[in-house]
Symmetry: C2
Subunit: 325 residues, 2 copies
């Protein structure tokens, strides 16, 4: 098995060789821009790992890994327009750097190019199956984004609905990438499905971890401002769980804090956290996260390849969960 | 060969049976809305005709015809956002009836569903080829829209650039639909390519006709206000040709008229038309349009099927060009 750094390098090389030099530049330059903003390339690397579990020919999965990365960046691009986000990875978002119409149209053509790269796979027979898997993922990502937007104006979002939303918006793309990698590598359907379930469950765990760290993370290690979700009144797992568990007084305090923007951000963060702490929300979130991790690793264990080959996947998962191994 | 009305009915039935009832409704309702706005369903009907030239099994092409119609409406939906258009076929556009974010996201998922319907074709072996053809079309449609937006701020657009833009924005979708229909019907590559060229050339002719009718059409027959393009300062073929052919005086008059919005729309229309008339722009446009029609029918003639089978395509083309047969 190739390790994470090797796969990242392999992917980076493929990405560099596949810059969009087509015309009109107004359409293609923003694509190179957003793809250049970097990140850890988790999704394409996981796809390559999915392939590598079943085949030593990793290169054959590179077009699909690029397709997944293009799709991911397409969804970030359009989400940033919808969320009116000014920054992405510390740089101006596409609709800010260029303009909104460019953001819409460059995103559209990125989605088409995702399919174009799937078509470049050597094994043409597998293409319909791979696109079928990808379509399901792409549809769920859109549905998840719609749920996320719908939730902003709702006060009765349940934990189940929230988990479903993060599953669709985040987890299925990780799951689908792993499964597509496995299909390309020649996996049996049962194994590629276990890998999908591994990705789906670990994706939900990642997102719950993200919610926890945003409020309880170590300011030294956490990239963004700790408490950012609270300041922005985001309906994270922590908030939804607190509204579910809280008594009338706690409910009122939390609702009040979320409905009024405070001049003193730190005071607001502390006040919200004290409601969370009274209800042991952090513990509830960590417990739920652990249960998804357990499920994830059960599915990984069921994949019928030598355990040795799974080590790199387990290592990357632990790194992403911020755990020493 | 089935006639136009029969094919329209067949398509309408398929569309009705494939309404989007999925959740969340906020994502799917706008898709049913825009698809219900109607129109003559030219693109799917042409795709079915492309199939019918080579096969009596038209039903097998219905999923692809729906894919093309979904894609067409996706592009209208996103273009309407970019153009800030309030109305589409006399009804509120999606971003007006719902909101902009819905317009972006529902459009995105429509594009995914176009691929989803291509996957429903019975003959799985042909799917990669069909998606390849479709991707090329979809990419060109996006490029054409970008060129169209770029042209708004340019004063040096050439006739060649304009033709290329309308080819990409309008003609290749007609061409691609015909070709995909032919592939589904089992056509040889040579024949499906001739059909593509028929569609591409006739698509350019349609758009030139549209430019001519917008200024010179019969107010009784023309659905919109005659002269609308002039009022909106649109850079149609007529304007670009006049700027190319005009002397300094004509150039100055036309530029002046296009740079200032007039309170008297009819006076503006007449003043612009008098520049066109001095330069015989209508004749130049009609001549060019005829040359594309000739090319189109040459390619149709080269398609190796009995002439009898082509009659319905010729009839529909003539109807669309507003010609009695």
């Amino acid at each position: 098995m190739q390790d994470v750094a090797e796969l990242q390098l392999l992917f980076k090389k493929y990405l560099d060789e596949n810059q969009f030099h087509q015309k009109p530049t107004g359409l293609y330059e923003p694509i190179n821009y957003i793809l250049s903003l970097g990140g850890k390339r988790i999704r394409p690397v996981l796809l390559l790992m999915g392939c590598n579990l079943f085949s030593d020919n990793i290169a054959q999965a590179l077009p699909a890994s690029f397709a997944i990365e293009i799709f991911h960046n397409f969804s970030l691009l359009h989400d940033d327009i919808m969320d009116e986000a000014p920054l992405r990875r510390g740089k101006p978002t596409v609709h800010v750097k260029y303009n909104q119409n460019t953001g819409i149209l460059s995103g559209d053509v990125m989605l088409v190019y995702a399919y174009e790269f799937f078509l470049q796979l050597d094994n043409k027979i597998r293409i319909p199956d791979i696109i079928k898997t990808f379509n399901q993922v792409a549809i769920e990502v859109c549905e998840g984004q719609q749920h996320d937007m719908d939730f902003e104006t709702r006060n009765d979002v349940s934990i189940d609905e929230y988990i479903k939303m993060i599953e669709q918006k985040t987890a299925v793309l990780i799951a689908g990438g792993l499964k597509i990698g496995a299909i390309i590598g020649g996996a049996l359907e049962e194994d590629s499905n276990h890998l999908y379930e591994f990705g789906r469950n670990i994706g939900i765990a990642f997102q719950l971890q993200d919610d926890i760290l945003d409020t309880y993370g170590d300011p030294e290690k956490f990239g963004k401002k700790v408490g950012g979700d609270i300041v922005q009144n985001k309906k994270t797992f922590l908030v939804i769980k607190a509204l579910e568990l809280g008594n009338e007084d706690q409910h009122t305090r939390l609702s009040h804090l979320m409905n009024f923007d405070s001049n003193d951000e730190n005071a607001k963060i502390e006040a919200v956290k004290s409601v969370f702490n009274e209800l042991q929300i952090r513990e509830a979130a960590e417990q739920l996260m652990e249960s998804y991790l357990v499920l994830a690793f059960e599915h990984l264990a069921a994949v019928n390849v030598p355990e040795e080959k799974k080590k790199v996947l387990i290592k990357l998962s632990n790194e992403l969960m911020g755990r020493e191994v």
